[in-house]
Point group: C2
Chain length 387, copies 2
Amino acid sequence: MRRVAIIGVGQSHFGELWDLSFRDIFLSAGVEALEDSGLEGKEIEAMFVGNMSSGRYLAQEHIAALIADYAGLAELNVPATRVEGADASGGLALRQAFMAVASGMHDIVIAAGVEKVTDVGSDAAMDILSSSADREWEWFVGANLPSLYAMMARMHMEKFGTGSEDLAGISIKNHRNATLNPKAQFRREISMDVALNSPFVAEPLRLFDCSPISDGAAAVILADETTAKEYTDKLVYLAACSQASDYLSLQNRTDPITMSAVVQASKIAYRQANVSPDEIDIAEIHDSFTIAELIAYEDLGFVEKGKGKEMVREGRTEISGELPVNTSGGLKACGHAIGATGIRQAVEIALQLRGDAGKRQVEAEKGLALNIGGTGATAVVSIFEVA
Amino acid sequence: MRRVAIIGVGQSHFGELWDLSFRDIFLSAGVEALEDSGLEGKEIEAMFVGNMSSGRYLAQEHIAALIADYAGLAELNVPATRVEGADASGGLALRQAFMAVASGMHDIVIAAGVEKVTDVGSDAAMDILSSSADREWEWFVGANLPSLYAMMARMHMEKFGTGSEDLAGISIKNHRNATLNPKAQFRREISMDVALNSPFVAEPLRLFDCSPISDGAAAVILADETTAKEYTDKLVYLAACSQASDYLSLQNRTDPITMSAVVQASKIAYRQANVSPDEIDIAEIHDSFTIAELIAYEDLGFVEKGKGKEMVREGRTEISGELPVNTSGGLKACGHAIGATGIRQAVEIALQLRGDAGKRQVEAEKGLALNIGGTGATAVVSIFEVA
């Protein structure tokens, strides 16, 4: 297994990109990544694209070929593969690219993620997003994604005394971070009062507990260490990129408030990267709902099970804390462009470790990203480091 | 790179499986593959699933997690990844699994493909299938898959003198082969008279030039050579599995009747497997339309460009010929369960090389499979051998 480095990153603005098409969006991210890397493009040997639902949003499948075509890679016959695991699609694309380079199959590979959601109405979008859960055993009986996460939140509250303020605290933090990120969808702060008085989406989750509907794309270029050094001195290594599965339906899990896929994927990642949770300096965590970020604090081993709320109350995951989480604004405030999110997280960690994160820059040498599909049936944990 | 062997194969019946759900279908193929291998299931380290459009057919994404769950692999946290490249999705799943084993990442991996098409009407199915082509530049102006292949057929006829009888000959051959395959959708022979008098779908392509709408699933279990020998004496090696891309839209290709992705992927595969086209004893070729099989004879290097028709006229690809093609019945008569097809082709070649192909058994030591997405923007070429 060769060491894998990130040599270029790019990201479109995240948000309701009414004036941009699917094709415009992925090109903007890809071009930025190429420019960042200094590559011309013809050095790219393979492409992996994360996307959840282009079929339903755009009536267009086969989008890896489409993107390769528009990126000028089709004339070079570059293999392009779409991977899908709901909103973990970006993480899966990163993992395929990581394996392609680590194994020695390819030297330079691009991993991208893209989703164009707003071309359908928000009812249709919610239906499509909820197809990450079990259609027959969850959605058909009325359990869409917010209601499934609401049940997890309720259980966590009853079992561990987690409060609505704790969840709101995560949202407030992520909104505050997003004010420092020019690519973020919501670049404004919210107050505890606003968060706690926002309407319920699925009780106990309120509007500000839920990530928005977003369009966006992101891209990272990976290379083996030797090749990477030809292009940049600011090497960020992808030390591990691990994946695990869990039951698709919440009802089948022994403990619905422990995401066993997250536990398992992170264990493997820590072992492969030879780091422990307390060595992680910065993390991007999949906060499709605030409760997801809180549960992840526990399942990633940053704090004991049930004590996620203490991370919030003590401000440990604030940008000024010991473990800044979601300096980008996270899914909540940077936006959640579904298939793009896993790659967007990698972009943020790479920028931070390189020292290119602008106003939101923190001191960090080791970073972690957690990308989740649906309610946790797919989890991808990536660990990044600078040395 | 380690040698990769196939240690188990399984396939559902292909056809209009009204009485079976998506979940029933993939389970039947997976269980058959496990039984064939002698594995218990818990030895499986990773799963790759090819599927084109579960989102549109079933309103269900995240199907790799769903399948892992139903296959009993979720409780083991086995990573499961869906890959999509239109009707080359199965081939892409095979390729990801091949890379995972060849690279040493995993020892035992399952590659599966599944599609449940008939839960929507045939108009909707045609719309969804045509989303493998460029939605904005082809479908919106009325060019669905049959019309795009019709243009290729017309061009081939005008440039090289290929006749309707040549195309019909491919259909007749594949129907005849399917009578010998108990899993095939259409197990009856057709005559030249019937083929040439069937209605036009898109002139010059008639009903019997087009593959049908099919449900189905297939699975193969891959292992590294050392592990494989613990499970079976009948080793079939996957010697190469290569992928290439082309422009998505037919209009952008310099030569619309040469599939450059097929040319390129096969060149790489021949080189990796260290074989030449004339050493191939048997092939499964993606005959979504008869013209696709004929063009593939040329692009795979079995015959000079423009002379595909001679392969038909001389009976060289008949089951009794020098290079039997589509002994399974092919997409035309075995059926074309979209995301399952690439894996179903691998199942057929493995059965043939093992000597387990029953009434359609031929003498063969080296086999090839070609799986195509849409009109050829994605191509996967696999080479199999017994020694």
